[in-house]
């Protein structure tokens, strides 16, 4: 023992002993209280990540369905429901993938299922197909008229506004109210049943607008401009919204 220790005052020696005991106790107890793996990945027990992933799938995913039911998924892919996952309607089917016989999918054939998406609600986005089920072929099941894997409206919409309501409403209050949609857009008839396959065409250059707006001899009372001097570096719709041209 170094000879300076006995020379320390009694109270200091006792305090030092206490400090040493506390420090040793801390060093012994600390590892017992800290869970294994704490701090390896961050301020948490790294084994918690293993707990988080130890959970069974309930939804198998569309890719799993496709492995056996490729006839149905290809039918689905060509129609309006192409983005739908099978399990949205048929329920969670991870069990069916494991044991196809034991676990059977749901087949919601009643009139109360389709309206979950297709009943009219004012909050639903414009253009999304909606019905008021109280007045829509009461007592008939939806699947009597509509094939759910390739649904087509039983009556093809006659007016563009059925789907493009937002545009129709802007156009109705603009100076272009009397310009028909097909004056600017040439639309293939197939667009009404397969909108993604047949796209509507749009004007591609300044001369199109110029037919009315840059030809003072056509007798039109539309505002006239000189195409060669009026902002020649831009196309018209970069500044003017064609469905509401007076909008700033």
């Amino acid at each position: 023992m170094p000879n300076w220790i006995p020379n320390l005052p009694e109270q200091v020696r006792r305090l030092a002993l206490l400090v040493v005991v506390v420090v040793i106790a801390f060093l012994i107890v600390r590892p017992m209280l800290i869970p294994a793996g704490f701090g390896e990945q961050g301020h948490f027990r790294s084994g918690a990540l293993n707990d988080a992933v130890a959970h069974d799938y309930k939804y198998a995913g569309k890719a799993s369905c496709e492995e056996c039911h490729d006839d149905m998924t290809s039918m689905l892919a060509s129609g309006y429901h192409n983005n739908l996952s099978c399990e949205v309607c048929h329920g969670p089917l991870a069990g069916h993938v494991e044991e196809p016989e034991e676990v059977q999918p749901e087949f919601p054939r009643g009139r109360n299922f389709c309206p979950v998406c297709h009943e009219y609600l004012s909050a639903r986005p414009t253009g999304f197909p909606q019905i008021v089920s109280q007045s829509h072929n009461q007592l008939k099941a939806c699947i009597n008229c509509h094939e759910p894997h390739d649904p087509v409206p039983s009556e093809v919409p006659e007016k563009c506004s059925a789907c493009h309501g937002k545009i129709a409403r802007s156009k109705a209050v603009s100076h272009h109210a009397n310009v028909e949609c097909d004056f600017c857009h040439s639309v293939n008839e197939g667009h009404k049943t397969s909108p993604r396959e047949f796209r509507a065409a749009k004007p591609i250059d300044r001369n199109f607008c110029g037919q009315c707006h840059a030809d003072s001899e056509n007798g039109s009372d539309a505002p006239q401009i000189d195409l060669s001097s009026h902002e020649p570096r831009y196309v018209c719709w970069q500044c003017h919204y064609p469905h509401l041209p007076e909008a700033k």
Binding site: H43, N50, A52, V116, R124
Partner: protein
């Protein structure tokens, strides 16, 4: 100074070499440290490194039809109690009336969809807002946890260690988005995990899988080619309660200013 001037050419070169070698030391040590951080999964079939990812979700309000298939799928996938008030994700409907009043409803989290409101005549605009844990990059829930049971993983997902959660509910109070609840049986905090068990195996979360209109987009935040990055580039993006500086990783396109 005298030493330096008197030093031999050989000595100067020697110490210069030492200096250059020293530059590489920290890098190799850091590389080793990174190596240590790699995570070994108990399940050998998982080949996923949390350090290689940064997850987020985009929600397109204009695409949401309020069918509630996401919240229904979430309840099934994650064994969330069926009773009301326990949700990891839910859908809210906003009605903004012409007198400026805002009505928000979410009947049973929309797991059975919505019913028509009786008087919809004076609605100025209305829309649906799906909600879930925002997986904040600066999460208040993690800060308040007294036992380190809730944490942000390296891939940006905020998770709960239910084995160490003591059920004190501090995190539930701290979450500004109301995204957490106390599980009635285990008495531990629960929340959206981005379906962590699915994403480590390369699948989408159940709500994204179930969404019929692709209103939810799940993906990498830091990879330029990811659908989520494209979504953020192509849309006007808002987050919930930006003033709180929680830095959410759930991004809303076409978010109305009335949404709280």
């Amino acid at each position: 100074m005298r030493n330096l001037i008197n030093a031999k050419r050989r000595d100067v070169l020697k110490s210069l070499m030492g200096l250059v070698a020293g530059l590489f030391v920290p890098k190799s040590i850091m590389a080793e440290k990174d190596q240590q951080k790699r995570f070994d999964w108990a399940d050998d079939s998982i080949h996923y490194d949390p350090h290689d990812h940064k997850w987020g979700m985009g929600i397109d309000i204009d695409n949401c039809i309020g069918c509630g298939r996401c919240s229904a799928a979430c309840k099934i996938e994650n064994d969330v109690p069926r009773e009301p008030f326990f949700f990891r994700t839910w859908v809210e409907r906003y009605h903004i009336l012409e007198n400026g009043e805002t009505i928000i409803d979410s009947p049973n989290g929309a797991i059975d969809g919505f019913n028509k409101k009786p008087d919809e005549e004076d609605v100025l605009r209305s829309f649906f807002v799906p909600k879930l844990c925002n997986h904040c990059d600066n999460p208040p829930c993690v800060q308040v946890c007294p036992v380190g049971a809730t944490y942000e993983s390296a891939d940006g997902v905020v998770l709960v260690d239910s084995e160490y959660c003591i059920g004190c509910s501090y995190c539930i109070q701290a979450c500004p988005y109301g995204a957490r609840f106390l599980h009635p049986v285990t008495r531990t905090a629960e929340k959206c995990t981005f379906c962590y068990h699915r994403i480590v195996r390369g699948n989408d979360p159940a709500c994204v899988e179930a969404c019929p209109t692709q209103a939810r987009i799940f993906g990498e935040l830091e990879q330029k080619a990811s659908p989520l990055h494209r979504f953020k580039r192509m849309n006007r993006i808002g987050v919930l309660k930006p003033a709180l500086n929680t830095e959410p990783k759930v991004f809303y396109a076409h978010l109305d200013m009335e949404v709280k």
